[in-house]
C-alpha cells in the first residue's frame, strides 16, 4: 500500500486563503435546505472505503491509506484542527508560543479533555506521541524530523516545550495530519487503542471492518450523533457503489468519476464533491537535454490545454493547475497569472532553443486515475506545436518505486496531496529531498526555502514563499494541470457530513453525521 502514501485520496491539510471549497454537494440534495433541521441522535453509520487488506492498521504512526485515516480520525484528535476551507483552529493544543528565533515552542494544551478510559489528557501524552512519531518506521517522520525529541519537556501538566533543530515559523502546521494525532502515554501496540476522539474503539479486523461506539464525553461541540460507526473495507469500486445503492452502507469513499457524473444526473444518492489541493502533474528532469534548457520546459508548459485535460481525463472533477503546488494552502501565491495554452509562443521558444520538431518520450502508468488519459491528450495537443510525444506505459509496480523506475525518468507524471507548501518543497525540491522528481538543485533556492520556513512574521514569510513559487513557475520542471477534487457518495438519509478540502468524505468527520 506504500504507493498510496500519495495517492489521490490522501487527505491534505493546512490553513489557506480559504474559499477553496466551491462545488459543494452537487446533487439535488444539497444540505443547505436541511441546515435548519436539528440533528437526530442514534443509529449506526456504516462507511465503505477501499480496503488495504493485511496492510490496514489502527496505529496513527503507521497508517498510510484512506481507510486507516478514517479510523484514526474517529478515535484520536489532533493538536491542530484543519477546517473544511483549509483554515486552522485549536485542537488539543490551544496556543503555540515560539521563542525569538523560532527554534523553541511552548505549547499550551486543553485541560478539560479526558481519554476514553477516563484519564485526563496532558503534556505527557503529547511527548509520548511525538516519541512514537519519531520511531524508525513511522509515517509521521517528516513532520517531527526537525524536533529535538530527546529534549521535549513537560513544563507543567498542560504545557509542552518543543525544541527544534532549525527555525520553523509555523510549527503548528506539522500537527494537523492524521499521522500526528495524539495517543495516550504508555500506548505501545494499539491492540486496544485509547484516544480522546469522538468514537471509542470496539473492534478491528484488518481488511474487513472495524466498529467504534459513540464517546458521550467528547470535548468537541455538537456530535457525535450516531451510536456507533462501522468502517468496512470494500476494494472493488463497483461493489462499493452497489453496497451503497442497496443500503448495506450509508457512505462510500472515492466514487469513480464516470459513476459520479451518472449519479449526479440520476440523483439517487448524494455525490459529495470538494475542491482539493491534490495536484496531478507532468514532470521533467531539469538536468538532462533537451529539458536542461528552460525555453524547452516553458514550451512544454505552454503546449498544455489544461481545461481540456480536466474535462476529458478526469471528467471535469478538478480545478486548473498553474505549475505550482498547493492551491488553497497557506502561502500559495494566487497572484501569479494563470498559465494558458499558447502554441505560437511554444513554437518560437522551441525554435530559439534549436528544438523545432522535438521528439520526446513520456512515461506514464495506470497507477493513478487520469494519468494515461492525460498523457494521451497531451501527446495530441503537442502535435500542434510540432512536438512528437511517444507514450511509454510503465508497470504500476515500478512507476513510483525509487529502486526501479521512479526518479530516473526524463518526462513522466506524478501526483501529490501536499500537506503544506513546506512539506512539498522539503520532499520534492530542497537539497537532499527524497522525492526530487525534477532533479532540482539550486543552492540559492534552498537558502530561500529555509528562510521561508523559519520566518515567524507572516508577511515576510509570504514574501519569501512568493519568490520561491515565482522561480518554480518560471523555471521549474513541473507542469501541473489540475488540482483534483475529492469525490465521494452518501445515501440520502445521511445529514451533517459536509464536503471538505481537507480530506475525503468531509475529512472523515463522522462526529458531524446523523441519520434522518
Amino acid at each position: 500500500m506504500t504507493d498510496d502514501r500519495r495517492t489521490i485520496s490522501r487527505s491534505t491539510f493546512l490553513k489557506g486563503a480559504g474559499g477553496s471549497i466551491a462545488a459543494l454537494g452537487l446533487g439535488p440534495f444539497a444540505d443547505n435546505a436541511l441546515a435548519a433541521t436539528r440533528p437526530k441522535r442514534g443509529g449506526q453509520l456504516r462507511v465503505g472505503y477501499v480496503g488495504g487488506g493485511t496492510a490496514e492498521t489502527i496505529n496513527p504512526y503507521l497508517a498510510v491509506t484512506p481507510i486507516d485515516e478514517g479510523r484514526v480520525q474517529s478515535i484520536f484528535d489532533p493538536l491542530v484542527l484543519l477546517n473544511a476551507d483549509l483554515s486552522l483552529s485549536p485542537g488539543l493544543a490551544l496556543e503555540w508560543l515560539p521563542n525569538k528565533t523560532a527554534t523553541e515552542y511552548e505549547v499550551k494544551l486543553r485541560h478539560d479533555v479526558t481519554f476514553h478510559n477516563g484519564k485526563p489528557f496532558g503534556a505527557a501524552d503529547v511527548i509520548h506521541s511525538i516519541h512514537l512519531m519519531a520511531g524508525k518506521t513511522s509515517a509521521a517522520l517528516p513532520f517531527v524530523s526537525n524536533i529535538n525529541v530527546r529534549d521535549l519537556k513537560a513544563v507543567n501538566k498542560t504545557t509542552v516545550r518543543i525544541p527544534l533543530k532549525r527555525p520553523d515559523g509555523n510549527l503548528m502546521a506539522n500537527f494537523v495530519y492524521y499521522n500526528t494525532w495524539i495517543a495516550q502515554k504508555g500506548e505501545k501496540n494499539f491492540a486496544h487503542p485509547i484516544g480522546t476522539g469522538p468514537f471509542k474503539f470496539q473492534s478491528f479486523t484488518p481488511g474487513q471492518q472495524s466498529v467504534f461506539v459513540r464517546n458521550p464525553d467528547y470535548w468537541g461541540h455538537g456530535g457525535p450523533y450516531v451510536d456507533s460507526l462501522k468502517i468496512v473495507s470494500i476494494s472493488d469500486p463497483t461493489a462499493r457503489l452497489n453496497a451503497l445503492l442497496s443500503g448495506q452502507i450509508d457512505a462510500m469513499a472515492q466514487l469513480d468519476y464516470a459513476q459520479a457524473k451518472a449519479h449526479q444526473r440520476i440523483g439517487d444518492i448524494k455525490v459529495l464533491v470538494a475542491h482539493a489541493p491534490q495536484v496531478l502533474m507532468f514532470y521533467i528532469d531539469t538536468t538532462k537535454p533537451p529539458f536542461n534548457d528552460n525555453r524547452v520546459r516553458l514550451a512544454m508548459k505552454l503546449i498544455a490545454d489544461r481545461p481540456t485535460l480536466i474535462k476529458d481525463a478526469i471528467s471535469g472533477f478538478g480545478t486548473v493547475g498553474n505549475d505550482i503546488v498547493g492551491k488553497g494552502l497557506p502561502f500559495y501565491d494566487d497572484s501569479i497569472p494563470q498559465r494558458t495554452q499558447d502554441i505560437d509562443r511554444a513554437k518560437s521558444l522551441l525554435k530559439a532553443a534549436g528544438h523545432q520538431g522535438l521528439k520526446v518520450t513520456l512515461q506514464t502508468s495506470d497507477i493513478v486515475p487520469g494519468f494515461v488519459a492525460s498523457a494521451t491528450l497531451l501527446a495530441q495537443q503537442a502535435k500542434a506545436a510540432g512536438v512528437t510525444i511517444h507514450l511509454q506505459q510503465v508497470p504500476a509496480s515500478s512507476y513510483f518505486n525509487p529502486s526501479l523506475k521512479y526518479l530516473k525518468m526524463l518526462f513522466a507524471e506524478t501526483q501529490w496531496p501536499p500537506s503544506s507548501l513546506k512539506f512539498f518543497y522539503l520532499q520534492a525540491l530542497a537539497a537532499n529531498a527524497p522525492y526530487n522528481e525534477t532533479h532540482w538543485h539550486s543552492k540559492s533556492f534552498n537558502g530561500l526555502l529555509f528562510k521561508a520556513i523559519g520566518e515567524k512574521n507572516h508577511a515576510k514569510a509570504q514574501a519569501y514563499w512568493n519568490h520561491i513559487q515565482k522561480i518554480q513557475w518560471e523555471q521549474g520542471g513541473y507542469l501541473s494541470w489540475t488540482n483534483a477534487d475529492f469525490v465521494d457518495a452518501l445515501s440520502k438519509k445521511i445529514r451533517g457530513l459536509k464536503p471538505s478540502s481537507a480530506g475525503i468524505l468531509g475529512n472523515h468527520r463522522f462526529q458531524d453525521a446523523w441519520l434522518s
Binding site: D3, G52, G53, G207, Q208, D236, T238, S398, L404
Partner: protein, 321 residues
C-alpha cells in the same frame, strides 16, 4: 490397490513440491527485490536494506526456501511482509487469513453441493431427451453461461436481481467472525455466478457419458426385459456414465477454488480471494506466496480424491495390471 494409492500420493507430493519451487521462484524474480516491491514509493536504499534484513532476504535463496517449506508443512505461514515493512513486530499470516479462508470454504462448499446434483441431473436429462428441445435448451444455455467471464455474469445478475427487480442484495458483506450462512440471501448471487461458470462442462460430460451408455446393448437388454425406464437410467446408465464425469466434476471443484477469487471481488465477499487480490495490490509477497501454496494444496488434494473415487467406481482399475 495399495501400490496404486502409494503411487498417487507420491505423485501428488511431487506436484506440490514443484509448485512450491515455482511459487517461491516467482516471488524471487520480482523486479528489484521482494523488499523493494513491498516498499514501492518508499523503497529508498536505506529502507530496502532494513526490510531486506527483516525479511531475511540477505540469506541464500535455497536456505530461505527450505525454511519456508519446512514451516509451511508445520502449518506456520510466516509473517505479512507489508506489516513488517510498516514496523509491526509480528503479523502471522494465518491469523489474517483464517477467517476469510473459512468464508471461502463455505462459499465453495455450497456451490459444490449444488453443482454435483445439478450437473448429474441436467446432464442425464439432456441425454435422455437427446435431440429434443430440452436437450438443446440445456446444452445451449450451459454453453452461453460458461462463455461469459465471472465478472460479466456477476454484473448481469446484479443488474437483473438488484437494479431491476430489487430482490437480492448486490454485495455479500459478512462481518468478521460472523457466519456467512447467517444471511443466506446474500450468498445467492455469488453462488449462482459460480454455478453458471462451472456447470457447463459437467453437464456436457454427464450427457455424453449417459448417452453413450444408453446406446449400449446391456441397456437395451434391460429395457427389453421390461425394467422401468427410471430404473434403467438411474441404476444402469447413470452409474456407468459416472466414472468419466468424476474427473470433470473434480476439475470443476478445482475451478471453484480459483473462481471464488473473481466472484469474491465482484460481490465484496470477505474470502481468501479478496485477500489474495489485496495482497497482490499491496505487493505483500509473503501473503501471496502462502495463499498461492495453500490453493495448490487444495487443488492437488481434490485431484487425489477424484482419482481415488474413480478407482472405487471402476473395479477394473483396482486390479493389479
Amino acid at each position: 490397490m495399495l501400490v496404486f494409492l502409494a503411487r498417487r500420493i507420491a505423485g501428488a507430493l511431487a506436484a506440490l513440491l514443484a509448485a512450491s519451487i515455482l511459487i517461491f521462484a516467482a516471488v524471487e524474480l520480482l523486479p528489484g527485490s521482494p523488499a523493494s516491491a513491498v516498499l514501492g514509493r518508499d523503497a529508498t536504499p536505506a529502507a530496502v536494506k532494513v526490510l531486506t534484513h527483516r525479511m531475511q532476504l540477505d540469506r541464500p535463496a535455497s536456505a530461505r526456501y527450505l525454511d519456508w517449506l519446512k514451516r509451511f508443512v508445520h502449518g506456520d505461514l510466516g509473517d505479512s511482509a507489508v506489516a513488517l515493512a510498516q514496523g509491526e513486530q509480528h503479523a502471522p499470516i494465518w491469523h489474517l487469513i483464517s477467517g476469510p479462508l473459512k468464508n471461502s470454504a463455505i462459499l465453495a462448499a455450497i456451490s459444490a453441493l449444488l453443482m454435483i446434483p445439478l450437473s448429474l441431473g441436467l446432464g442425464a436429462l439432456a441425454a435422455v431427451r437427446a435431440g429434443k428441445p430440452t436437450d438443446h435448451a440445456i446444452s445451449i444455455g450451459s454453453l452461453v453461461a460458461i462463455s461469459l467471464p465471472e465478472f460479466v455474469t456477476g454484473s448481469l445478475l446484479v443488474a437483473i436481481f438488484f437494479v431491476g427487480l430489487h430482490w437480492l442484495p448486490p454485495v455479500a458483506i459478512v462481518p468478521p467472525g460472523a457466519d456467512p450462512l447467517g444471511s443466506p440471501k446474500q450468498l445467492i448471487l455469488p453462488v449462482t455466478t459460480l454455478l453458471f461458470a462451472s456447470l457447463a462442462s459437467g453437464i456436457r460430460m454427464v450427457r455424453a457419458g449417459t448417452y453413450e451408455v444408453l446406446q449400449t446393448e446391456f441397456v437395451q437388454t434391460a429395457r427389453l426385459n421390461g425394467l422401468a425406464e427410471r430404473r434403467v437410467i438411474l441404476r444402469y446408465a447413470l452409474r456407468n456414465a459416472l466414472a468419466p464425469s468424476v474427473q470433470v466434476l473434480a476439475q470443476n471443484l478445482q475451478y471453484l477454488v480459483g473462481g471464488v477469487i473473481v466472484v469474491e471481488a465482484v460481490f465484496a465477499y470477505p474470502g481468501i480471494g479478496s485477500q489474495l487480490v489485496l495482497a497482490v495490490q499491496n505487493r505483500d509477497v509473503t501473503v501471496v506466496q502462502s495463499v498461492a501454496m495453500l490453493i495448490a494444496v487444495v487443488y492437488v488434494t481434490i485431484n487425489l480424491v477424484a482419482d481415488l473415487t474413480v478407482m472405487l467406481l471402476v473395479p477394473k482399475l483396482r486390479e493389479p495390471v
